[in-house]
Symmetry: C2
Subunit: 118 residues, 2 copies
């Protein structure tokens, strides 16, 4: 648990919030972290996470845009392709999270300077 101003936070909560993820996005993120090796299609993700395909598609798009997921194209035998997803390296994600937390702390620093002037 992490303390901040007499409130307690789980690390999961801190990560979820600092990456700005919805509940569904975080569920996908968590699932992919546990299965880092593999690339997975949205259809399979839907089966594994019990989230409907529309939610999955919306969520992986957001996760990809946020730079949390890597997207690869898998060509189908009969032509066409599907996108497959995998999560980026944990160290990279850690850096992103820490950057956001630093920006929160800078705000404290700023407000303390204002407080000092009062």
């Amino acid at each position: 648990m992490i303390d901040f101003a007499c409130k307690q936070f789980k690390i999961d909560q801190v990560i979820k919030c600092s990456l700005g993820l919805t509940k569904a996005e975080y569920k996908i993120f968590e699932y992919l972290l546990k299965h880092q090796a593999g690339k997975i299609s949205t259809t399979d993700l839907s089966k594994k996470t019990n989230l409907d395909l529309t939610t999955i598609q919306k969520s992986v798009k957001k996760l990809y845009e946020k730079g949390i997921l890597i997207r690869t194209q898998k060509n189908m035998d009969g032509g066409g392709y599907v996108f497959c997803y995998q999560v980026k390296d944990k160290s990279e994600i850690k850096q992103t999270v820490l950057k956001t937390i630093n920006s929160w702390v800078e705000k404290v620093d700023f407000e303390m300077r204002e407080w000092n002037k009062k």
Copy 2:
């Protein structure tokens, strides 16, 4: 307002918590900050803050021990003395607050490293 993990905090809350103050102690602290110039006795503090003398005495003791207040001895005409209190310089208090906040952040850092190893 300060954001931390999708919760919002007032700077007052952050200060109060990082200094580990009770409601009464914070009330006294706030009063003294607004009247930084003067030294004040516990009796006068009680009148000004509407807190009973026992609470005041317990609170200033804690605030003094925490290094937030300065205590001076005022000799009485008829012999004996009373203690008078004033708050330390805001910059010093700011440093104490920031130190605690840094220790909170170090915890996040630590937990993120643990998370990275999982």
